[in-house]
Symmetry: C2
Subunit: 439 residues, 2 copies
């Protein structure tokens, strides 16, 4: 490649405005770095970037959707070299170097696929309606409606067995999402809702966390898993280790020969990659993640890069990199720098290395666990650090301020500010007759 | 009625947790007033009380739903004599004194119907899908998605005529809702979105406000209507007076022989009462509102009261009372005091009198108009008063704080914080392929 000012502007198409895709776009529009010119098109099927680590707080009525989402155009739209496009990608034509978006074809010179992950039910996709997962804002508001409706229906249910089934909440999967979800539902039932009903006592709700493995939060040190377990138990969560779900249906969850009657199951167990591997016909791992080269390119396609939850790459310790925001962000920045270096005539910048700044998880409003290499920390001060870190990484001054104030208010009052039953879930069941009773 | 402590507790059923129903319930649980005992059941089909006067700000991406809605249980659930019930009322059995809620029957001694209003299309219900109105949170988030999607689709539309049709926004009805909506969309297009697109210039959006009558805001003095008109025109809104809509369809809006091509029509013209009149087989006015007695009871049913937007009653000037929050609140408090007085053995407290504290309407971020009797005010200071009044009447400390801070932030930055396309609308059209591209 030539290093002259007359060189052709490279068309870079990025699919996905999550942590990876957004960071790649931001780096490619950084004037100090990107002296060579790129025309970047960022495509996402939503008009917002979502801060997924706090999505469970929307599902449990602590935050509003807009608090953890920022419009992509608001973040990037004013960069002159970036075009933001709302649309669904259905495939890639590698022969003609085109991405297919809602039937249209968008040409590219370099392609970055950062399409994230989706729920995986390990061959039991029929469980999905009974055990929804948590990946999008619509997932979160639907789950919020489902949880709040369970209490409302229990309040009106005369049969004690059916009432208790409505008050059973089962979370499948003891990773960070499952642990955070279980703690948040326990606090919702035992604190925020405790005095708001007449027939039922929301504190009688059972929150059951099922984990197939021998301990919670496997990526962490066993001592921290133990701390998380005890903190959850103190919040009243029943944790069942070594519990493999064998069926989910309208009545509840089967674990081998046991059965828990419930109307609310939350799937936090399996994550599979988005279909990017199929689009490219590329080699994938068992979860569908593309097995990328050390520079995150796709074998046989040096101009196509896959990153974040969509990619499978071993870290320095030989184990696959985890599906967390810092990996996606570092990979997004890496690919952008690689493209800049190559466009500047340099041969490359070496393989991708993940710099691990540590892992965090939180259990309720008093405890978090932090691990960084051999450094471990837990308790209230770790929880404060967790709060600060999450506010720091939120995009937008308004969102930071609102989330900080909301958390402070919730901490003092034990209340939840967004207890709304909206959308389809709110219109079904008990509230089916349209235009019947007002407000 | 006896005035002894042994008297039977009266079962009061209130349908609707809007301004009227909520105020009635609060007054009946006020210990200082309600020495006689009432068992109150408050039924609503939503689990929240909605501050409808700010709903247009949710529809135009300025506020989050939870900022203007408060869970009814959170407001009232801890009052020992109040039962909150989520459900849809489908009828009243006056012979057996029962309300029918989702097939169940709830007995009452006194019944208060405060079921609000709904959109009315003057015999053209087929217009509704093309010209949705704004009464619920789901209406507001659907409208927000529709408005934001129109800009996204325009950005991708190669045909200039079709592009302009997507950028045409028509508001039908020049009352307070229509005027506030038109001003808010104009500011969204010309300020918040102005620099966020590459192909289109959002400032080329046409915002057209249609009013069938000879002036805007007819309840106000003509001098204030004129000020509102000029303020809207300054914001770039095209106001067409004497414009009667003769058709709404997928292509746009017909006004006699004229036709405006558009994909976004907002219905702020007609409001009809909820079906309470039908439930009771009571005399109603042309809009379906129950013609109530001076004490708000239903003719022939002295123990059934209808109030707020569901009732039709002349004010002291002989004109029907307007469908605004203060009327509903004062009527809710009046009926509760009437029940308390009667239960205390007093004969009554005289007929209902509306105390008019004035009317407000706002146009954009700089001007409001206020009228109270012969006192009139407009301009920036009126706008500040409008802000303070609306924050004051919001329920809940958290909501007041968040709304105040959000307005301050928007005022300084011109930004909108809740530009999210969510729900069904966000899944249709351009974003139809599920699980195609990530985030």
């Amino acid at each position: 490649m030539s290093n002259t000012d007359e060189q052709k502007r490279l068309r870079v198409v990025i699919v996905g405005a999550g942590f990876g895709g957004l960071t790649a776009a931001q780096t490619l529009s950084n004037k100090a770095l990107a002296k060579s010119s790129f025309d970047v098109t960022l495509i996402d099927r939503h008009n917002y970037h979502l801060f997924q680590p706090l999505l469970y707080q929307v599902a449990t009525a602590a935050l509003s959707p807009a608090d953890i989402a920022a419009p992509v155009r608001g973040i990037l739209g004013r960069q002159p070299n970036i075009t933001v496009m709302l649309g669904s990608v259905s495939g890639v034509d590698t022969a003609h170097r085109e991405v297919i978006v809602d039937g249209r074809r968008i040409g590219y010179d370099r392609l970055i696929l950062a399409t994230g992950a989706q729920h995986a039910y390990f061959g039991h996709d029929d469980w999905e309606p009974f055990a929804p997962g948590l990946k999008t804002i619509d997932d979160a508001t639907a789950l919020r409606a489902r949880i709040l409706l369970a209490f409302e229906r229990a309040e009106m249910e005369p049969d004690p067995a059916k009432r208790q089934a409505l008050l059973n909440f089962v979370i499948v999967g003891g990773g960070p999402t499952g642990v955070e979800m279980a703690g948040a539902i326990a606090e919702l039932a035992k604190r925020a809702l405790a005095w708001d009903f007449k027939t039922i006592d929301p504190r009688a709700a059972r929150i059951i966390l099922l984990e197939a493995g021998p301990r919670l939060l496997t990526p962490f040190d066993p001592s921290l898993s133990e701390k998380a377990l005890r903190a959850l138990q103190k919040l009243g969560v029943e944790v069942r280790l070594g519990a493999t779900v064998t069926d989910c249906n309208a009545k509840g969850v089967a674990i081998g020969s046991g059965f828990i009657e419930t109307h609310t199951v939350i799937w936090a167990a399996g994550v599979g990659a988005s279909p990017a591997g199929r689009w490219l016909d590329a080699p994938v791992d068992r979860a569908g993640r593309v097995l990328v080269e050390p520079d995150l390119s796709v074998p046989g396609h040096p101009d196509i890069f896959v990153l974040g939850d969509t990619a499978s790459l071993a870290g320095d310790n030989g184990k696959p990199l985890p599906g967390v925001a810092p990996v996606a962000k570092q990979q997004g920045a890496y690919v952008a720098r690689l493209l800049i270096a190559r466009a500047g005539g340099k041969s490359g910048i070496g393989p991708f290395h993940y710099r691990d700044f540590g892992s965090l998880a939180t259990i309720g409003r008093k405890l978090a666990i932090i691990e960084r290499g051999r450094f471990r920390m837990s308790g209230f001060f770790a929880w404060l650090l967790w709060c600060v870190a999450h506010i720091y990484f939120l995009i937008g001054f308004r969102n930071r301020l609102v989330v900080a104030l909301t958390w402070l208010w919730s901490y003092i009052t034990y209340q939840r500010g967004t207890r709304l039953i909206t959308g389809e879930a709110g219109r079904s069941d008990m509230t089916s007759n349209d235009r019947a009773a007002g407000s």
